[in-house]
Amino acid sequence: MRGAKSAKWVAIAAVVALGATACGGGGDSKGDSKAAVDPNGIFSVESGEPQNPLQPANTMESYGSLVVKSLFSQLVSYDSAGKIVMVNAQSVDSKDNKTFTVKLKAGWKFHDGTPVTATSYVKAWNWAANPANKQTNSFWFSDIQGYDQVAPAKGKPKATEMSGLKVVDDNTFTITLSKPMPYFVYKLGYEVFSPLPESFYKDPKAAGEKPIGNGPYKFVSWQHKKQIQVAKYADYKGPDAAKNGGVIFKNYASPETAYEDLKSGNVDVLTQIAPKDLPVYKQDLGSRAIDQSFSAIQTIAVAYYTKQWKNIDPKVIQGLSMAIDRNTITKTVLNNTREPATGWVAKGVLGYKPNVAGDVTTYNPTKAKQLIKEGGGVPGNKISIQFNADGGHKDWVDAVCNSITNATGVKCVGDSKADFQADLNARDAHQVKSLYRSGWVLDYPFIANFIRDLYGTKSDGNQGGFSNKKIDDEIAAADSAGTLEESEQKYQEIEAQLKDSMPSIPLWYYKVNAGYSEKVSGVKFNQAGDPILESVQVTKK
């Protein structure tokens, strides 16, 4: 999860920086510099070695997805308010939220000159969904009808193509889902749903080293462990054409070194600020410092399968939540890099409402003690919070623990796992002893991503064993709602009830803390916390 970005180990533990990052909108930003702009100027971005080959359905961590996003455009994208913007699609329509008709804009070409057609999409998706091709993000296609034939849970695949995808003509195709989903269009903005050129299938491995896409930039070179370079694609027809000549993604071992290089002018855009520099980066960079919220949330999840919490009265969890002084912790230990959360859904997501959790997220030691007492106390009077030591979480875990202990007398210790793998392993194997830190960056900017995908009994993101029949039923109802608005409203109702069952303790929303050099202007970040590369402007020398 993205939270790892502040870790000193971030490069080494790039796994930790996993963020199934959604596609950024083509935000039109106005240049904020008075100096003349060089439309062919090249700038560099702090990054790391992508973990996987650069295949659109195969990049899950942020380094790779940043590059892939610059090379590939999808059907749609969304703006900072969470509204859909058409990119490669002329329109995506549906009458029943089950069958969607996609019409493509004509005349789009891949970087190798071949046209982008309906087949480019359908074939690419079928290829990526096929387990034989081992794409890490293949489960994204599971909403589409026929996915269970291509990738059955057990036994041999019965088909190689999903029956839900049909090419109508060169610029039209239809997507049929296995069941209606009013917000499916939002998912189409994710880079997994990219088209692929015909040349890809000849040697997918080589294509992952030298990708050919349809996006605003075309691939130039990849010097492993050093840098990746992309250049402006002159024939690009989308709304998010590049305002600069190209980007160099520079590999950094740690954000500290990148920051030092920013100051000495060796790199232009940072996507994160090292913990060491956070207290002073605004002073150092002045107006070139970026402090902006993005759609991610940190929570403390409860391991409901443990003896301690199995039959707990939610009042106890509410009490623990009220014992956490979010305001002071975000201001001090976290250097204002987070904003206290007041609900379970992150900002910038369609359906977000402030103050959903009411006073449950307000610091109140007296009430906290009282609620814990009413709920029968914390079994054992001792809790632990599991976290991964390589993710930069130690400071706030210590602070949260101190806050809980000081306010309620419940003993609290951080349970540090050496790295994200060990942390994940304990969670997967249901070996968490008490509580664990959990974070979530949006996959698509719709409220369902923060409710259904985290607190549904069988959701992938639900690793704490939380299960509530009523909530499951209401999620099903919200998913089968007739319109997007109706679905959004139903999900908001579910979120409002979460404080009665406390599947997790919301802590804070993430912010992007970044910066840029004097050479560039117009640097903005999207909801996923990634820089919007196309809109960066390079100053003439």
Partner: protein
């Protein structure tokens, strides 16, 4: 950190081997009062290095066993609202405010005092484990020779060949809770080879001595020969290496903490690592544990140096 760790015992071994060659042979003793150890003690008492390091180590041991004598503050109690990054108040000696407060609002002074325990425990624990295991392996290999020696020597090579810090990192990663024992175990797992090599060399030299042959001829049992006759004459180089590596293991623990793999709990390494994030606003959080760490490591390395000089007649 084999930057430091790997190289230190190595150098110590070379030096110790030199010491072993001349220093530990039972020489004819015309005057009974002048034994190797007696000479060494006479030497040590006059060495400024020894006096300074022994004094420091005594102080550190006192801090380790009686932290309460030095501070009444609780090193784990933090108050963000009141003490977040509060500057040191240099006039207030031994007060919790003395060295300032850290990012959790905990007293840096209290943490520096209580942190000694972890470093000393890891240093002594690892050195003891390493000396026991390495000493035994080296002694058996050196004394029996032949196939036993070949097998044990190759085994030592196997563990020696893997870079120390990297090996330790892998071992530590496979434990869920990094207690003092786990850290000691991980450091010892790759650390014992040094002592084994030194011991083996010393035993091979010693077993040629006439009095060992005499004991064998008289039918003394193998354990008796090993522990009664050979061991006392091989101790000198082992003690030298062990003392120096004590400092090195303390430093190694701090480096592991820096890499996020240190002890769970109060330790200088953890505080240096955490304090590094505040370096630009609150240097004292990192500064004081660093100073304590450097002094501690220096004290043990100096002691080792002094002991070596004393035990090696060629150095006089």
């Amino acid at each position: 950190m084999p930057d430091v760790t790997k190289t230190v015992p190595e150098a110590a071994a070379e030096d110790a081997a030199v010491a072993a060659a001349g220093g530990t042979l039972p020489e004819p003793k015309p005057e009974k009062t002048r034994s190797l150890w007696g000479d060494a003690w006479q030497d040590l008492r006059r060495s400024w290095i020894f006096i300074v390091s022994a004094g420091l180590i005594l102080l550190l041991l006192t801090i380790t066993f009686f932290p309460g004598w030095f501070t009444g503050a609780d090193p784990t109690h933090g108050d963000l609202a009141k003490h977040f990054l509060q500057k040191p108040k240099m006039g207030k000696f031994f007060d919790p405010d003395w060295l300032g407060y850290d990012q959790q609002g905990r007293s840096v002074y209290a943490r520096v005092i209580y942190g000694a325990r972890a470093s000393i425990a890891v240093g002594f624990g690892t050195t003891m484990a390493v000396t026991l295991v390495g000493g035994l392996v080296g002694m058996i290999a050196g004394y029996f020779g032949g196939l036993v020696d070949s097998i044990l020597s190759r085994l030592t090579d196997v563990f020696f060949g893997i870079p120390f810090l990297l090996g330790t990192m892998v071992v530590l990663n496979s434990f869920q809770d990094r207690t003092t024992w786990v850290v000691i175990g991980a450091l010892s797992f790759f650390g014992w080879t040094q002592i084994a090599r030194v011991m083996r060399g010393a035993v091979i030299t010693t077993k040629q001595a006439d009095y060992v042959h005499a004991a064998q001829a008289l039918g003394a049992s193998t354990p008796r020969i090993l522990f009664r006759h050979i061991l006392p004459n091989t101790l000198a180089p082992v003690i030298v290496v062990a003392t120096i590596s004590l400092g090195v293991y303390i430093s190694a623990e701090a480096t592991l903490s820096y890499l996020g793999l240190g002890l769970n709990g109060v330790s200088w390494g953890n505080d240096i690592s955490d304090g590094g994030n505040q370096i630009r606003v609150a240097q004292w959080i990192m500064l004081y544990p660093s100073i304590m760490l450097i002094i501690t490591v220096l004290a043990f390395i100096m002691l080792g140096e002094a002991v070596r000089n004393a035990l090696d007649p060629k150095m006089r």
